[in-house]
């Protein structure tokens, strides 16, 4: 197992730049998520770590060794592909033994290891079957077995749950996570599903247009997004933005939106012009006495909670409130926010403004 360090990694395909100078570190034994919308460069980054693409510039260190220009076969990395890529002309046993055969391992040891891994993944009864007739979940397990059997320095998983049925996905996600907990192997996992990333990841890096937007533990990213992109990409519904023109100064602990004065964490940065107040739906409360007013336009019932959409002078706001509270469309009500949870963004740059609450997170990511 090994730590993976990525430094200023860049990849150009002709005139298109897929990855623009990424820097992050995957700790030894971490379950690390590469998250972002399609085309953001996350898969290219993964392929560069695996050695399937060579970077245009930058460094990739696996276990302290610079492997950036080394071919995949010399990196001691295992990978699970989105479509599994099981060799169709081999049965399950041959598929799993294939990476061991390439190392020239003696046959009896290969056989023992394959049986062992097959038992771990509960596919021992499938060993002599062809891979064509397997169900999605079993293919997934075979692909995992092929990756695990070699005990590589790290695992690369490229949207491994993407090809599975929705109902089975949940189950497989749990299985993957528990497998990781047992083995403690460094794992890099690519996904576009923010829920999956937060559920499973020890750490997340969020990419957009080839740029690393933020990097850190899921809760830091969720609570203290470094950019408006991260704020919107994480969470469902995403973070609300109340847009306003104003001035924020170092040391200030409140902003003025229209007539309402809203307490915010003490600011550490000056900014003026188009700003946005970011608030998660669960931190919006309906409070008739509050000065920020909103008119209810919709309410979605979700069982224990409901999502209420309100129109305010600063844009639409969604609030997650207990479903016990009766809300009718057309009602006008006041909105109050948890002061400790608020972030301010500079709309022009999309960056979060540093405050007493988020400065440690921002300094890190």
């Amino acid at each position: 197992m090994a730590e993976i360090v990525i430094r200023n990694l860049r990849k150009e395909f002709g005139s298109f730049t897929a990855v623009k100078g990424s820097t992050f570190t995957v700790g030894d034994g971490e379950f690390f998520m590469l998250l972002g919308p399609s085309g953001c460069g996350k898969t290219t980054t993964l392929r560069m770590i695996a050695g399937l693409e060579l970077p245009t510039s930058g460094e990739i260190l696996i276990g302290g060794e610079d492997v950036s220009q080394r071919p995949a076969s010399k990196r001691d990395i295992a990978m699970v592909f989105q479509m599994f890529a099981l060799y169709p002309h081999m049965n399950v046993r041959k598929n799993i033994s294939y990476p061991l055969v390439s190392q020239g391992m003696p046959r009896d040891r290969v056989a023992t290891k394959v049986t062992e891994v097959a038992r771990t993944l509960d596919i021992a009864h499938l060993l002599d079957k062809g891979v064509g007739g397997l169900s999605g979940g079993d293919r997934q397990r075979v692909a995992l077995a092929r990756a695990i059997v070699r005990e590589p320095k790290a695992f690369m998983l490229d949207e491994p749950l993407g090809a599975l049925d929705a109902e089975f996905r949940e189950h497989m996600a749990e299985e993957l996570r528990s497998l990781h907990n047992r083995m403690g192997a460094t794992t890099v996992y690519v996904t576009h599903d923010q829920l999956e990333a937060m559920q499973m990841g020890d750490k997340i890096v969020i990419m957009n247009h080839g740029v690393v937007e933020q990097f850190g533990v899921p809760q830091d990213l969720y609570d203290w997004p470094a950019t408006m992109f991260v704020a919107e990409f994480l969470g469902s519904p995403p973070m609300n933005f109340l847009r306003f023109d104003g001035i924020v100064g170092r040391g200030m602990a409140a902003v003025t939106l229209g007539e309402a004065v809203i307490d915010v964490p003490q600011q550490r940065e000056d900014a003026h012009g188009a700003l946005a107040l970011g608030v998660r739906p669960e931190h919006v409360h309906l409070d008739d006495a509050a000065p920020t007013r909103g008119r209810v336009i919709a309410a979605e019932y979700l069982g224990t909670s409901q999502i209420v959409t309100l129109a305010t002078p600063h844009g639409e706001v969604k609030a997650r409130i207990p479903s016990a509270r009766a809300v009718r469309s057309g009602d006008t009500t006041g909105l109050s926010f948890d002061a400790r949870t608020l972030s301010l963004f500079d709309v022009a740059t999309g960056r979060a403004l540093s405050s007493a609450a988020n400065q440690t997170v921002l300094a890190h990511g």
Binding site: A78, M83, R146
Partner: protein, 314 residues
């Protein structure tokens, strides 16, 4: 419209289709059947009118094809010891004595060497270049592919005279190597284009999985791509073999003895002696058909998969 009527053909349509297939099969197979049956007829049976459908089969045609014979008078035959081998008996019955093998066996062997040799070479070179065109960023790729295809835009025989002169000065005239080279050159463009299509269909994931599993690019190509491309390789091989096997014009022009193939040789049987020995000609044609038929049957499993390749696997 119900789903049933779209997916399942009606009984009537099945009947019509069945009858059409049988008619087509009769139309194409009847001449072949006639050739094969003629090859087992005796000389008089083969030219009798009305044509004989039922006859006493004999291997006379085959014996005549493979041997050189001399006519002997009844008195001469009486002085000789009676024949022991079955083929000697057949010749004896016609008043002939076998004096040695004919050149057919050697010409046939030439066809086998040149046909299969050039097919093998076309497939090896074709698969490697098709893989390169399919997977790597080859500079001017599209132009190169078009150039390769353009070599098929005129009939190859147009360049017969330049090739004849080149072969003469390179000492390739009437050599196996020369003919293999020529047929490979003609077939290669087809092979590259066909195989590129098949290799494009194979997801790159398989090779990448092999690269990750610790194999080199070439090992991944041999162990993962080639088995996946078996269908394409089989059908391309059949096309290449059929061309090389049946090629007549270049063979007439460039070979005369040592490397002469069967197609230019078979017509020479027609002009031997007085009458035309139709059973021998039919026997030659029958034997000439066999290798391609056998080769196709051996590869038919892959061919059938080739037909359903695009439809089922994705």
């Amino acid at each position: 419209m119900s789903a049933h009527s779209v997916t399942a053909a009606s009984r009537k349509a099945k009947w019509v289709a069945g009858i059409l297939v049988v008619l087509y099969a009769v139309l194409t197979l009847l001449p072949l059947l006639w050739i094969i049956s003629t090859s087992f007829k005796s000389g008089p049976d083969s030219i009798s009118y009305p044509p004989k459908v039922f006859f006493q089969p004999t291997l006379e045609g085959y014996v005549n094809l493979f041997t050189t014979q001399a006519r002997a008078s009844a008195e001469d035959l009486a002085t000789l010891t009676p024949p022991e081998a079955w083929y000697d008996e057949i010749a004896w019955a016609d008043g002939m004595i076998i004096v040695g093998p004919s050149r057919f066996g050697q010409r046939f062997l030439n066809s086998v060497i040149i046909g299969f040799g050039s097919t093998f070479l076309s497939i090896v070179l074709g698969t490697l270049s098709a893989y390169a065109f399919s997977r790597f960023r080859v500079p001017l790729r599209d132009d190169l592919l078009f150039f390769i295809l353009s070599t098929r835009m005129m009939p190859p025989i147009v360049v017969a005279i330049p090739i004849f002169l080149m072969f003469r000065s390179l000492g390739l005239s009437d050599t196996h190597a020369g003919m293999i080279l020529l047929y490979t050159a003609v077939n290669l463009s087809l092979a590259v284009w066909l195989l590129k299509g098949f290799i494009d269909e194979i997801p790159r994931d398989y090779e990448e999985a092999a690269l990750i599993d610790g194999y080199t690019r070439f090992q991944a190509f041999v162990k993962v791509v080639l088995p996946q491309a078996a269908t394409g390789i089989a059908s391309t091989a059949i096309f290449c073999l059929i061309f090389a096997w049946n090629e007549y014009a270049f063979a007439v022009l460039l070979t005369s003895g040592n490397a002469q193939t069967a197609p230019p040789f078979i017509p020479t049987i027609l002009s031997v002696g007085g009458g035309i020995d139709w059973p021998a000609v039919a026997a030659a044609a029958t034997l000439f058909l066999l290798p391609v038929v056998v080769f196709t049957i051996l590869l038919r499993k892959h061919l059938l998969r080739g037909i359903t390749f695009g439809a089922v696997r994705r």
